[in-house]
Amino acid sequence: MTARLPPGLQLEKVDDRIMTLNVGPQHPGSGHMRLIIQVDGDRIVSCDPDPGYVHRGEEKMAEYRNYITNIPHLERPVIHDSCNILYPYCLGVEELLGLEVSERAKYVRVIASELNRFTYTLYWLAIYGIFLGHSTMFMWPAGDRELAIDLLEKLTGARVTHSYFVPGGVRNDLPANFEDVCLRQINYLEKRLKAYADIFYDNPILIARTEKTGVLSREDAIRLGTTGTVLRASGVDYDVRTKEPYDVYDELDVHTNVLKNGDSYDRSKTPWLDMLESCNIIRQALEKMPKSGSVRVKLKPNPKGGNDEVYKRVESGRGSLGAYIVSRSKPEPYRVKLSVGSFRNLICMPYLLKGEKLGNMPAVYWSLNYWPVEADR
């Protein structure tokens, strides 16, 4: 009897029709993860995603630090979307500590969160472009992303890991003249986003290639527990910003983009439509924001919560992102659990890739709006 080897490392018989491919972690078409793919000719027989290469124990680390010092490391799983990943944590801690956030701080949070959606989604779109062999679509979003990053740098002082949201508001107020610069750059970004349609989304080869590939039906999308853009591409009208509005999203007019086919093309188009919607949200927030006021509640050193637990969720670039915090009357949280969209969208990958052609693998894989680091946490 041969020793049982882990999947993907088993030796193959020479006369076997099935060939096992290890896509990742050292493969240009994978993130920090591995896909164990078995192919019969050009057709994928089975796909076994193997995440966990960048597990950093963020949730365990959070149990040894107090509520404020948790902020800089909890944002590490998605450094491009660091405001959004801190958002549910801050909302939960505010409820645990009983903090009242000022109106201006809520609007600043909305602006920063939507700008972060830009930085994340443009990065995602760039990689989607190069996965499909479209190098211009790699360069354009990566270059235009600089505008959103510049705005966030002006706002927070850091280009990626902002550590901007704190329990009780945001770390610092808007810099002088921020509103004008923000409005100008958002208008320009919107113009650029519309130019992407000409070269990418209306491209006949792209449409022929991604339409009707990896189709996720509405029922399956709900059954498999997908979220965010994947769910909305399958025709489910679900957005945390409209269904369970947090902060000031109920005062803003948020339009949910729902497409109905649930194929790779729709899944790749939904984030782009979301970015266009983000432009509207930022413009509304800039208009409705109170022009003055404090943005941060002064906290006691080492604040303690009661014997309580709280679950809050927000809409991140990858879908609903929840934080479950348990407090046991100590300065440190007893348990922090992040419920991330990436991992929930990853679950449907084996179902989608089964029976697809090998050439469809990157198109389906990256259309799931999956960020390997966030899934591992």
Binding site: G29, F131, S135, T136, F138, M139, N203, A208, P362
Partner: protein, 432 residues
């Protein structure tokens, strides 16, 4: 964008200038002069003043302004020069290098970036040389279970086949390495070699991703060879010859792209697939199969494959020019060689020098080369552009394009050509 460019300083500039001059002199003495001697041994030297030149005599005469021209002229008309330099390998390699540089700068402009910038004094023009040096200096790693002889031979065969393809292209009237009566047939034979070399190299690497890439390349090349060959039959029907020079000469009044546009389009698409360029770069699709059949290549082996593929690109673009765009044909724009230099000599201040053997090249040759180069560069531009605009297509879409659409279009093209021939519009004894 912040580009940190050093400030101009006269001292540094003069130092770099003297450095350059020093290295040019060193390289000339160590490499150039021995190379000239070696070349002189291989060419047929002319009879000058009744004496047959020896290589050593010719070498001393190279530095005499009056006597150098006959030696240079005999070099220009030698087989060695044809194979190594002008219509052959050197010209093609120069255009291929220009193609790589143009491709990188063009794509960079399209994608809102700068491209190669630092290496070289002007816009990163020496970047290619730096990349070549890097590839030469890198270690060549061969997989442990690879079939070593084939793994080594395949890239060399690839370059050799591409160079053989280049040798069939007529650049100017009479300027072709191998002027075969079955030139187009030889082209088909050479194109048929590429899939064999590709699958050999892919299989010999004994690795999964190269194997898949090799199989894809095989599918692609074999299924696009048929429309490629069929699309050229229209030209053969109209000219009644397979000799590429004669095909060019028959286009003196009109270009075949005017009458056979469908054939030209089919040929162009097939060329994109044969060259494995986007949108048909499935054999090298990096997000699916790492680098396809190039995955296990490293160092100069990889460099050779790249050189071969760009030589192939030049050769296909040149073939398009020869068959559809009239090759070297074009209005005479090069001025004639001034006759008084031949009759009276060159006046240099108080003295007049009579140089025998002028002019070195004919006016037709220069004009033909100019037109040919211009047209080839234009075709190469159109081969490069899709890379910035299209994503990669899938293998089933590729096969359906090749077998269903292009072959049908190629047959339509053949019927158009036959119609033109029997209506007496074109062909031998035609109206035009």
């Amino acid at each position: 964008m912040s580009v940190i460019a050093p400030k101009f300083r006269l001292g540094y500039f003069l130092k770099s200038l003297t450095d350059n001059i020093f290295w040019i002199i060193v390289l000339l003495t160590l490499v150039g002069i021995p190379a000239i001697m070696i070349v002189l041994f291989f060419i047929d030297l002319p009879v000058l003043d009744g004496t047959l030149l020896t290589p050593f005599l010719a070498f001393t005469m190279m530095f005499h302004p009056e006597l150098a021209v006959p030696v240079v002229k005999s070099l220009l008309y030698s087989d060695f020069f044809r194979i190594a330099a002008f219509p052959g390998f050197g010209f093609a390699a120069l255009l291929a290098a220009g193609t790589i540089f143009a491709e990188r700068k063009l794509l960079a402009k399209l994608q809102l970036r700068v491209g190669p910038f630092y290496c070289g004094k002007f816009e990163g023009i020496l970047q290619l040389m730096a990349d070549g040096l890097k590839l030469i200096s890198k270690e060549i790693i061969i997989p442990a279970k690879a079939d070593k002889p084939i793994f080594w031979t395949a890239p060399i065969l690839f370059v050799a086949t591409a160079a053989a393809f280049v040798s069939l292209i007529p650049v100017a009237p009479g300027w072709v390495v191998a002027d075969l009566d079955v030139g187009l047939l030889a082209v088909f034979a050479i194109i048929g070699f590429f899939p064999i070399i590709t699958i050999l190299s892919a299989w010999s690497a004994n690795s999964k991703f190269p194997f898949i890439g090799g199989i894809r390349a095989l599918h692609q090349m074999v299924s696009f060879e048929i429309p490629l060959i069929l699309s050229l039959l229209g030209v053969v029907i109209l000219t009644g010859t397979l000799n590429l020079s004669e095909i060019v000469e028959s286009q003196s009044n009109y270009w075949f792209i005017v009458f056979l546009p469908i054939g030209a389009i089919v040929f162009f698409i097939s060329v994109l697939a044969e060259l494995e360029r986007i949108p048909f770069d499935l054999p090298e699709a990096e997000s699916e199969i790492v680098a396809g059949w190039l995955t296990e290549f490293s160092g100069m082996i990889y460099g050779l494959v790249q050189l071969g593929s760009y030589l192939k690109l030049y050769a296909f673009a040149a073939l398009f020019v020869v068959l559809f765009l009239g090759g070297w044909q074009g209005p005479m724009i090069v001025p004639p060689f001034p006759a008084e230099i031949i009759t009276h000599g060159i006046e240099a201040g108080p003295i007049t020098v009579q140089v025998p053997g002028l002019p070195i090249t004919t006016q037709e040759m220069l004009n033909g080369t100019l037109w040919f180069t211009l047209k080839t560069v234009a075709v190469i531009f159109f081969i490069l552009i899709p890379r910035g605009v299209f994503p990669r297509i899938r293998i089933d879409m590729l096969l359906s394009i090749g077998w269903n659409k292009l072959i049908a279009l190629a047959f339509i093209n053949i019927f158009i050509a036959l119609g033109l021939l029997y209506a007496g519009v074109l062909g031998p004894g035609g109206l035009l």
